[in-house]
């Protein structure tokens, strides 16, 4: 026993040293990336730039994900940014959202017919897309053959299988509910009321025609069927067939992962890097062209190490850490690489409208109007965020914009705020410094800085001393969804799909994420707020077909939410601060899921 320990310890120490003694015999580094990829060469050439002629720049993009492993590559199970980014590069849905304009384009379906009642959609698929995988031995992307040796093409049956699989309870898809709400029979199948997959309203009529029955004649049906959750899946890999071994939940590992989109998975070193490689068999179309770059490597790094790698020339694009923004702006070289792009998220505070003091709308409105959001953005956040006046961030379909509605919602007006508060104080016969108000956020430096700024604003503009308190994230989530919701609490909302409905209705309407209700529809936590006029407005806005009328309906709803009832305090609309090397031509995805088929490596820069 003792010997074994000793030998192991000695081995661990000596083995590396022994090999190191003869560096001439060991080939150049192969440790991080597979040998033979041009990337390795690049890594060490850029690390030691010399005066000799510039070598050709490898046609690869080196990007980052946040720290920690990519949770999954299974389209049915994905729910986070990095997973979805890879899935949407490896798969293409029936429809596909433009990552910059949020417009809906054809994807695998070249066209679709809608029935007279607006519920049944018939999708016509393109017939020239084969399933592929990366073959490690051949070091190439290869087409997948069936048991008869014929190329497997992506068919309507694969879509039917993929969508039904997503709503199958055994798949435990956390995102299945989006399909459950939209597709006929999906919820019954998910909850086990029906065990027959044929009862789900998705049916392949033939190899190239897919019929989907929706529950509502909603405008966003075609959007939902293009979501990553509704991607096709390779049944033969997951469940096995005569010539393929079943991989079950393990089908998403490199070498087994079968896809058909512009890229496919080449290598996945868990917790470290993930590489996708160009799929030469993706035929491309106007909106999802064949990629110009050969590979994209994602390093899973925290913001600060990623910034260091970027400055060392080893990364092509990354987010800039907020602590570095001032330095980057002042740096003559880095400042040219800095781009601040909008991202469809909103940062806001919610009121527990049933809690003492803030159950009076005058107090809520006064608090909201007493915050100088411009100063918050310029002095605290510094990332070019936009001061928010309402919830549904401009850029979403049907959301009001600052151009069309400059005076909508909550605006900084300390005098008016003071007047409102004084009215309340006089009625209650008390003074501002005696008001007992708690503001809660989840423990994180940025949230604390914002809360401290807001605290100061309320002190200066209203004379109110607000108490700040914080909770760990999961505890905070429980607190703010239950009866103990504090008077004011921090929240944020990012899009699931780019429509104002996702914000104004799903985030805050009665029964929404921040406004939970019990089974009888009574407020249960969060905002504890219900305004019948607001509810009617958001429902009719969802059903309205005329885009201009929709904007007006949402604008009216937002006016109730942010001003008349002041149930929330919108603070700012998010931006993303990025740095990109000068030789990269790229797009900026508003939803955060980049599309690298639109990126390019320029040789002459």
């Amino acid at each position: 026993m003792r010997k074994a320990i000793l030998i192991m310890a000695v081995l661990a120490l000596v083995a590396p040293l022994a090999a190191c003694a003869a560096p001439g015999e060991t080939p150049p580094v192969k440790d991080t990336v597979t040998a033979g990829t041009p990337q390795v060469v690049e890594k060490f050439i850029t690390a030691t730039p010399g005066p000799t002629a510039k070598p050709k720049r490898p046609n690869v993009v080196r990007a980052t994900f946040g720290p920690g492993d990519v949770p999954t590559l299974d389209p049915a199970v994905a729910q986070d940014t990095s997973s979805i980014t890879v899935v949407e590069e490896c798969f293409v849905g029936l429809t596909r959202l433009d990552e910059v304009t949020s417009e809906l384009h054809p994807g695998m379906a070249t066209r679709w017919d809608v029935s007279a009642d607006g519920k049944t959609y018939t999708f016509h698929l393109r017939k020239d897309v084969p399933w592929v995988k990366y073959d490690g031995a051949k070091k190439a992307v290869v087409k997948v053959q069936d048991c008869k040796g014929k190329d497997r093409m992506v068919t309507a049956y694969d879509f039917e299988y993929g969508i039904v699989r997503a709503v199958k309870p055994e798949t435990v898809s956390p995102y299945a509910y989006v399909l459950n709400f939209a597709i006929e029979g999906a919820e019954e199948f998910y909850t086990g009321k029906s065990t027959d997959p044929a009862t789900v309203g998705v049916k392949a009529l033939d190899e190239w025609t897919l019929e989907v029955k929706f529950l509502e004649p909603a405008a966003y049906n075609a959007n939902i069927i293009g979501l990553w959750t509704a991607m096709p899946a390779p049944k033969w890999v997951i469940e096995g067939d005569d010539c393929t071994e079943a991989r079950g939940e393990r089908w998403i590992e490199a070498g087994f992962y079968q896809t058909f989109g512009p890229f496919t998975l080449k290598e996945w070193i868990h917790d470290s890097t993930l590489t996708i490689v160009r799929n030469p068999f993706w035929p491309g179309d106007e909106w999802t062209p064949q990629p110009k770059v050969d590979e994209v490597t994602f390093s899973m790094l925290d913001e600060n190490p990623a910034m260091a790698e970027f400055e060392a020339g080893n990364l092509d694009a990354t987010g800039a850490p907020s602590t570095d923004i001032d330095r980057i702006k002042a740096d003559p070289k880095l400042s040219k690489l800095l781009v601040i792009a909008p991202i469809l998220c909103t940062y806001f505070y919610g009121f527990n409208t049933k809690a003492p003091v803030v159950n009076d709308v005058r107090v809520r409105r006064a608090l909201s109007m007493a915050i100088d959001r411009k100063a918050l953005v310029e002095n605290v956040l510094k990332g070019g965020q936009e001061p928010a006046q309402w919830l549904a961030r401009p850029g979403l379909a049907a959301a009001p914009t600052m151009n069309t509605h400059p005076d909508l919602g909550a605006k900084f007006n300390p005098a008016e705020a003071k007047k409102l508060l004084d009215e309340y104080l006089k009625e209650k016969n008390t003074t501002a410094d005696k008001l007992d108000i708690v503001l809660m956020y989840n423990t994180m430096t940025t949230h604390q800085q914002i809360a401290e700024f807001v605290q100061q604003q309320w002190k200066n503009n209203l004379g109110i001393n607000v108490k700040l308190t914080s909770q760990e994230w999961k505890v905070f989530l429980q607190t703010t969804k239950g009866k103990d919701t504090p008077q004011i609490y921090r929240m944020g909302w990012c899009l699931d799909y780019p429509d104002a409905n996702n914000f104004t209705r799903e985030a805050v309407a009665s029964g929404g994420s921040n406004n939970p209700v019990d089974e009888n529809g009574n407020p249960q936590g969060g905002l504890m707020w219900k305004n019948d006029k607001f509810e009617k407005l958001v429902v009719s806005a969802a059903r309205e077909q005329d885009p201009k009328k929709r904007v007006e309906l949402y604008a009216q709803a937002e006016q109730i939410l942010c001003y008349e009832d002041a149930a929330i305090i919108p603070l700012y609309w998010y931006t993303r601060v990025t740095v990109t090397q000068p030789w990269i031509k790229r797009t900026f995805a508003v939803g955060g899921h980049e599309r690298y088929e639109h990126w390019e490596v320029l040789q002459d820069k």
Binding site: R2, V29, D74, P169, A176, G313
Partner: protein
């Protein structure tokens, strides 16, 4: 000796049982669950998730099942379909039978992996780094402490202790980014982040290929991590050696005319190593199972972050797995320390 080790290993199972029970109770006592998010999923989805991972069972049954899955081997004759719920650390085919043993469960957060996958891929990285950091700590700390003690109240002593205090008081979170900035970004001598080896590992721990570049990746994190520990060792070594050289038996050794060098190496140092060996055990366990901050700064795919993120994610199987793993290594390291005592001090008998 053999009896001693067997007895200690039996005690280890008692320790592990107690540790697992306490951890299990504590983690379920903390509010919030693994599937709580700011956009709550509908009740039927939450119910399905909980049912899939047996979180709807009473706690005692969940615990019993957890222990059962680890301890009881499964034997099948049919090749099982890969599954995240049924993933075993030991999975071999003996004759016609598949022998599968020790299932530590799936990860709820990393939805494509199991605790065993995390052990297989991440522990070796942490272990490699930890051993190198420990080597740095010993190589720097012990000689520095010896020198400081032998040349007490000279410039060596003051310099050595100044370095030690610097090492203790400048944490990795400061030293790390400075190293990255100087050697990675400005001089470009070393890669700022990353690790020079990838799975699968030789014997489950060693890198398959070791070249100069492997050490280029390891240099900064090993130094950053090792320096802090070296300071602890240096101060301990100095204090311990100072005490030992005042003992009677050292005076005896000198009186019988033994050369000073032999007095120190053969008599004083051996005894003075005992307190150092005592801290080396836990230090080894700490370094080898990974360190959150160092891994984060240098972008190292180690195990350290799972100790932290599993708790914030309420990723129950990963919490249990990492805690138990740490407990095993700590117990084993302490057994090794006890064995070392017997060598360092002939008066100590293990039986």
């Amino acid at each position: 000796m053999a009896r001693f080790i067997v007895r200690r290993l039996l005690w280890m199972f008692v320790v592990l049982f107690v540790v697992s029970l306490i951890t299990f109770v504590l983690m379920h006592a903390v509010p919030g669950g693994p599937f709580d998010t700011d956009k709550p999923v509908p009740d039927e989805v939450m119910a399905n998730l909980n049912a899939h991972y047996h979180l709807d069972w009473p706690l005692w049954r969940q615990y019993v099942q957890y222990v059962y899955d680890i301890l009881v081997p499964r034997l099948t004759t049919q090749r099982p379909t890969p599954s995240l719920l049924e993933s075993y650390l030991i999975d071999v085919k003996i004759g016609n039978v598949y022998f599968r043993w020790m299932n530590f469960g799936p990860s709820y957060a990393s939805k494509s992996r199991t605790v065993n996958d995390i052990f297989r891929d991440q522990l070796p990285v942490s272990a490699q780094l930890g051993v190198m950091a420990l080597a740095v700590a010993v190589a720097v700390g012990v000689p520095m402490g010896i020198l400081a003690a032998l040349r007490q109240n000279t410039i060596f002593d003051y310099l050595g202790m100044a370095v030690a205090i610097f090492g203790v008081s400048v944490p990795v979170i400061v030293l790390g980014p400075i190293l990255v900035w100087v050697f990675g970004v400005t001089l470009k001598w070393l890669p700022p982040t990353g690790w020079g080896a990838k799975p699968p590992y030789l014997l489950g721990v060693l890198p398959r290929q070791v070249s100069l570049d492997y050490f280029k990746f390891a240099a900064m994190p090993a130094v950053a991590l090792g320096l802090g520990s070296s300071a602890v060792l240096a101060r301990l070594m100095r204090a311990s050696l100072l005490q030992v050289i005042r003992e009677d038996y050292i005076r005896t050794a000198r009186a019988k005319g033994l050369a000073e060098q032999l007095v120190i190496t053969r008599h004083a140092l051996k005894n003075a190593m005992i307190p150092v060996a005592t801290v080396l055990g836990p230090m080894f366990a700490m370094l080898v199972t990974g360190t959150f901050v160092t891994e984060q700064i240098f972008g190292i795919p180690g195990l350290g972050k799972y100790f932290i993120t599993s708790i914030t994610n309420r990723d129950y199987p990963v919490i249990m797995g990492t805690v138990l793993l740490f407990a095993v290594i700590l117990v084993l390291a302490n057994v090794a320390v006890d064995i070392a005592y017997a060598f360092l001090d002939p008066r100590i008998r293990l039986s």
